[in-house]
Symmetry: C2
Subunit: 350 residues, 2 copies
């Protein structure tokens, strides 16, 4: 691996600015959206960073493209790119590697949904299936790397990946300024913490008074608990699954946690019904398609997990890769929508 | 009516620039979105002007706010604002009048869906119901205007309304330029023609080589047929309804038609199944919630109604006010989705 050392140190603002320059011809500058009905619903000013509109439907393209472009310029140049993921990271890596002319091999469980395998293939990746009960995915990935002269792109615990995700924070602060707003807080969906730590670095450097909060699904709030206890804590293995399939990593990364410990105010958690209600709000009021894991920060402001009254906040809607069955389930009250608070405000933009 | 004469002449670029200045604190500058998977699907470059993200969920707020602000500054100042509509125009007028401190009375058929009545009320309007079989809505509106000292805000055939809608065209051309693009054509959803004619004026003034095409539902292509025959032609009254409830006006307006006749290249039409497929594409690939009438221009490029290969186009997605039943129907193949062309490209951002 050509950049083993740089990959393991926390990026600084200059790394994120360099990443922004590196990805700017391929990644989209996603809009920061202000919606009067959302402001009214929470009694404050809430901006939405719509990473749902990013290439491949989530922020993951930013980090993958930055990292793979760094790898492609290294000596020796890797002959291929390897990743293990069945979700948004896989799609980001596949698209980025294709654009940079490198073959990508994505290691996925053999029982991953056919649609996810097909989507990743369609973006140009080769898929290497493994048996999740009989094989270890890291061992499988290591074997593929050896066979194919590959470099691994980790989903979050890597400086180049974190710097790439941080470009969303750079844009967010500049866009808020252009709208005449100074942010009291930014809420970021969190799994392994790549997006949250990247954004934390950018926001802390450009707007030090702005607080950063991670948001996770209840039961998968390993980052919140790690931040509280001052050391990395994993989720209980007995926790029942959440609807937020993108936010199920077992624990924060070593690098991401060290950054968040230094820069984040704390971590929030939301329940599945609150996530569904936020997706429905995004559909009805914001007119955005947001996947469950992408909607947790919006859910946190809509459900009073943080004071909004008279304050100015930004939430990141981090992805929109949701199948129609799950999406339509979120839109119907029997799908588990939380009741109460949202009823009054929703009608204003229906 | 204080501005009876100015309301009846076609606006020019300066009127649209003045409207942009007038609405800028209240209307949103909606993003112009480029999506690589959409480009790939059509073999060209297609920008999406997301008016779905506009205040009240459609472009209608632009025209309503511009017109009502003009009325509020006139002498004598009207004591109220009157409109007849059960759709996006009603919501735009209600929101704009509230923001400008004027009461609004919206004349709606008594059998309008309860949700539309509730939404318009929630935006601050008073609702005056009429019997669509026994009463004439224009007579009802005239009576309300007399009783309440009201000024009428027409849905499209008014210079102030057209100038307001044209601000979307002003933004679109500037945003395309900022992205380094020169547009070969702009496709605009069309009912009475307020949005299309306003955009046509702005685009023609700023980018005269860019062609303007209206897009309508099949069977409701009165503007396309009027443009072809050189005179205003109405839809057949026997036409069966379209899923595009926002695009069912009987014929273009006198003012809007005179503008489109001078500035539009021609009119296109799409079928309901093509509209559903475009809504599904917007959900799956663009991650945008688009209502049927708002999706016709996108449907036209996705279904080859205009050459896209190697060209640069923009489509306006004009609104996102769709109920969850209709939306979810569009997402399921049995809902009438058109097959064929879209299958290959869709997966790339799934």
């Amino acid at each position: 691996m050509p950049d083993v050392e740089s990959a393991a140190r926390a990026p600084v603002l200059a790394d994120i600015e360099a990443a922004a320059e590196r990805i700017k011809d391929r990644a989209l500058l996603t809009p920061l959206i202000e919606n009067p009905a959302l402001n009214e619903a929470v009694g404050g000013r809430v901006f939405v960073k719509a990473e749902t509109l990013q290439r491949t439907g989530s922020f993951k393209f930013r980090g993958a493209y930055n990292k793979i472009k760094l790898l492609a310029a290294a000596h020796p140049r890797p002959r291929s790119i390897v990743a293990f993921s069945s979700g948004n990271h896989a799609q980001g890596v596949a698209a980025a590697a294709s654009l940079l002319g490198l073959p990508s091999i994505i290691v996925m469980p053999a029982d991953a949904p056919a649609i996810k395998i097909a989507n990743t293939k369609a973006l140009g990746a080769e898929i290497r299936l493994y048996d999740r009960y009989g094989e270890d995915r890291e061992a499988v990935a290591a074997a593929v790397m050896n066979e194919r002269g590959g470099a691994l792109v980790r989903p979050f615990d890597d400086s180049g990946v974190i710097a790439g995700q941080g470009t969303a924070g750079l844009e967010l602060i500049r866009q808020a300024r252009a709208a005449g707003a100074t942010l009291d807080a930014v809420l970021v969906p969190c799994s392994g913490g790549g997006l949250a730590s990247g954004i934390a670095i950018a926001v802390n450097a450009l707007s030090p008074a702005t607080a950063i909060h991670t948001v996770e699904p209840e039961g998968f709030d390993d980052t919140a608990r790690s931040l509280r206890s001052g050391r990395i804590v994993a989720n209980e293995t007995t926790t029942k699954p959440t609807i937020c399939d993108a936010l199920m990593s077992a624990s924060p990364g070593v690098l991401t946690f060290s950054i968040l410990q230094r820069l984040a105010e704390g971590g929030l958690a939301v329940g599945d019904a609150e996530v569904f209600a936020a997706m429905e709000f995004a559909f009805r009021v914001l007119k955005l398609v947001v996947e469950p894991g992408g909607a947790v920060a919006l859910a946190a402001v809509l459900h009073g997990k943080i004071p909004c009254q008279g304050r100015t906040l930004a939430v990141v809607c981090s992805g929109g890769n949701v199948d129609e069955t799950t999406f339509c389930r979120a839109l119907t009250p029997r799908g588990g929508r939380a009741s109460g608070r949202l009823e009054g405000c929703g009608a204003v933009a229906g």
